[in-house]
Amino acid sequence: MSDTALPVRHGAANKPGHGALANLRGIWREANWIQRLALLIAAILLIIAIFAPLVAPHEPTAQSLIFRLRPPIGFDRFRDGYLLGTDELGRDVLARCLYGLQLTLALATMGACIGLVLGGGLGLVSGILGGLVDDVIMGAVDAQIAIPFTLIALLMLAVFGSSLEVMVLVLGVYGWEQYARIVRGEVRKLMQMPFIEAARAAGASGGRIAFRHILPNIVSPLVVQFTLNISNIVLLESTLSFLGIGVQPPTATLGSMVGIGRDYMPTAPWIVIAPAIMILLVTFAVQILGDWLRDRVDVRLRNR
């Protein structure tokens, strides 16, 4: 009749004194094949995005009207040096994909981070304070949901002009209401938990409760939302490009390449296919790694 301990598994994550390299090796070991694939893809995408200027065989904006609409390697009329073919202005699709990837990743990451901080912060405040503050913030959320975001984006870009900074801002605002709703819901649930009351009884301040007790417990849904948000932002950016209010040509983003290449789908599908595959890979890697990250940050699921 002893108060027996539950079995405790000691795992790599619990042991201190690991080097970064050993840590990486540990991560690799415990990943399954699909996570390893996602890791590999993510690593490759990151490297070619960061080193796009070195990797790209041509300038992304260099036109060569003689070699317009040339197909990728392995097809008829393939032109040496243009691995993935050329677009309607004779620009190298590969180079544009690489630069586009760079810009898209940067935009999506910044946008998702802004949304996270903005929406998450408002949701946290809303959930903890409640009352009038809660009503106002949730009212804004409802309004945001009711109005199509494309409309808001159009308005913002029309008023502020479509510079890259405004674009980041627009993408950042996108999705904030989802963060806010998720965070508020989780916070309100957590506020009812005895361990929050225990913290209050111990004398903890509001800030301590928010950052030490609540935030770590809402990381999981936030990570999931973040990954979804990144994929959505990539798509939104392509929508805006398609409408002609996104990042302005000739600057390449993956979304704008798909949007503009659409016109040439029947005759030159590679213009669309190459960036579309890139988008696919980005979202795939982000989603898989996001799920995995969510499981890893949850101490209850660790070492299982």
Binding site: M1, A5, E197, A198, G203, A204, V299
Partner: protein, 574 residues
């Protein structure tokens, strides 16, 4: 006498974990068999296996047979198909569950839910089924049965809901009733009523009862035969008198020793050294949610004009049933809920009107331990962060000494030092409650308010935790305000007891004086309802009917009257 149900060599497994191994027992017709064991002993798995509900919970019966012989022929339940099971369940065997609050569908009326049973098993029309439901409610002594069929579950109290569950289970006059901890979630007075009711109905219907419980007191009250389970194995199978007179298995003896018994004595009073806590005239008020256009909502006084004192190094046990305001009182004392009026003094300092900074000081000296050890520890923090948190909030420890302090704290509550890098989910309930106590002790408080600290734990673990609290009190001279619905547990730890009823303290005084000479009718009722772990002294109050609130709801503002030295009771009852 033939056996109604024979379980032979039953094996039940959840994945690769064997929950029940090689269990055999028989339930004689018209008798009550109690399956006793602590959490994880496999008693619920056994019950669910008999109805073959175990598959739904992810378990499988991996061996053995369950034979039902109720006169309509013998069937092996383990071999039945889904159709056969549906004819069996609710008809020949039915079950009452532990949690009356969640076992009823909240969006259907009582009548709708009950008539379903009749329509299904008795092929009645809707109208007939409603009439039958009304009669069934009558038969479980529910007052105003005609009105109840129109009501929704939330309109009934826990005791009434459990009666509805019993009425539904007995609707088809089953030969076997499986009762899985049917009274555990109820107040002790309600529990006594439900146990009496079950006994009466058993005689009326002539059914056998398989009663599952962890409480040896309840076993002594209701069982004819007892099977003691531990880790899925049978450790003892005996008649109830034999078991209580001379338990054979060591585990049965341990279990009985750990069961709190009324009248087993209280700790000696510490030398008087002044009071740590003085509360006078405290009232805590809740606003009811107002209706949309009615302006201000009504208010409810959860705690009414309560005064109490707690000496240094002393434990005051606060007893009362659920909803009597004892948890609100505890939180008001620590000002986690703001009292509406009255004064609170901690160690001679008035803390009633302290501002934010002052409150931090209060919490440096008064800590709290909560009921649910699973939910009161932040799942994301390692133990060394958890138990030292109050100390860090009050800057009593630097971050480099934190691990040392944590090690010292976990040692002082009887855990190994190397647990400090683990997380809460890696501990059992009792260990978690130890961690909660360690956390409270980290600031060396003068007062710990413990709100039902052992209610969620098995009896043996509860015993260890109360022993730990007594030991800490001896060593550190800390005072406890110990809140519980279980007066036997309260007796074990408290020098003085306060009985709370409907938001007021109706009787308070030295523990033994209260227990041996209860003055207030509610205290008497409470003491009479406590199940005694002694089958020879079965309480028979004949109150299978729900008690009308037998104790008068106290009028506000009555003062306490000294009935014996230090023993106060409300004037209207004296």
């Amino acid at each position: 006498m033939s056996d109604l149900l024979s379980v032979k060599n039953l094996h039940v497994a959840f994945g690769s974990n064997e929950a029940v191994s090689d269990l055999s027992f028989d339930v004689p017709a018209r008798r009550t068999l109690a399956l006793v064991g602590e959490s994880g002993s496999g008693k619920s798995a056994t019950a669910l296996s008999i109805l073959r509900l175990i598959e739904r919970e992810g378990g499988t019966i991996t061996g053995g047979s369950i034979m039902l012989n109720d006169g309509d022929g013998t069937v092996d339940i383990t071999a039945l198909d889904e159709q056969g099971l549906q004819r069996l369940r609710g008809n020949r065997i039915s079950m009452v569950f532990q949690e009356p609050m969640t076992s009823l569908n909240p969006v259907l009326t009582i009548g709708d839910q009950m008539s379903e049973v009749f329509i299904r098993h008795r092929n009645m029309t809707k109208r007939e089924a409603y009439d039958a439901s009304r009669q069934a409610l009558d038969s479980v002594r529910i007052p105003e049965a005609a009105r109840r069929v129109e009501q929704y579950p939330h309109e009934l109290s826990g005791g009434l809901r459990q009666r509805v569950m019993i009425a539904m289970a007995l609707a088809c006059r089953p030969k076997l009733l499986i009762a899985d901890e049917p009274s555990t979630a109820l107040d002790v007075t309600t529990q006594a009523e439900i146990l009496d009711l079950l006994r009466d109905l058993q005689a009326e219907i002539g059914m056998a009862v398989l009663f599952i419980t962890h409480d040896m007191g309840v076993v002594a009250e209701i069982a004819d035969r007892v099977v003691v389970l531990r880790h899925g194995r049978k450790v003892e199978d005996a008649n109830v008198e034999t078991l209580f007179a001379a338990p054979k298995a060591a585990y049965s003896r341990q279990l009985m020793a750990a069961t709190p018994k009324l009248g087993s004595g209280s700790p000696a009073a510490p030398p008087p050294r002044g009071n740590i806590l003085e509360v006078s005239g405290m009232t805590t008020r809740f606003k009811m949610r107002g209706r949309m256009f009615s302006g201000h909502g009504a208010t409810v006084d959860a705690v009414k004009n309560v005064s109490l004192v707690l000496g240094k190094g002393e434990t005051l046990g606060l007893v009362g049933e659920s909803g009597c305001g004892k948890s609100t009182l505890a939180r008001s004392v620590l000002r986690l809920i703001e009292p509406a009026s009255g004064t609170i003094a901690l160690d001679g300092n008035d803390v009633t009107n302290l501002g934010r900074e002052g409150l931090r000081g209060l919490r440096r000296h008064a800590q709290m331990v909560f009921q649910d050890p699973y939910a009161s520890l932040n799942p994301r923090l390692a133990v060394h962060e958890l138990v030292t948190e109050p100390a860090r909030i009050h800057n009593l420890v630097s971050s480099c000494d934190q691990r040392e302090l944590a090690a010292e704290l976990v040692r002082s509550v009887g855990l190994e030092e190397d647990v400090i890098d683990r997380f809460a989910h890696q501990f059992s309930g009792g260990q978690r409650q130890r961690l909660c106590i360690a956390r409270a002790m980290s600031v060396k408080p003068k007062l710990i308010v413990a709100d039902e600290p052992v209610s969620a734990l098995d009896v043996s673990i509860a015993r260890q935790v109360t022993d730990l609290m007594l030991e800490l009190q001896q060593r550190e001279q800390v005072s406890f305000l110990f809140i519980s619905h279980d007066i036997a547990v309260v007796e074990r730890v408290s020098q003085r007891i306060a009985v709370m009823y409907a938001g007021e303290i109706v009787e308070t005084g030295p523990a033994q004086s209260i227990l041996n000479d209860p003055r207030h009718p509610y205290t008497r009722q409470l003491l009479a309802s406590v199940p005694r772990p002694d089958p020879a002294r079965r309480r028979r109050l004949g109150h299978a009917n729900p008690a009308a609130p037998s104790a008068p709801v106290p009028r506000a503002g009555t003062v306490l009257f000294e009935a014996a030295p230090g023993h106060f009771v409300r004037e209207d009852a004296a």
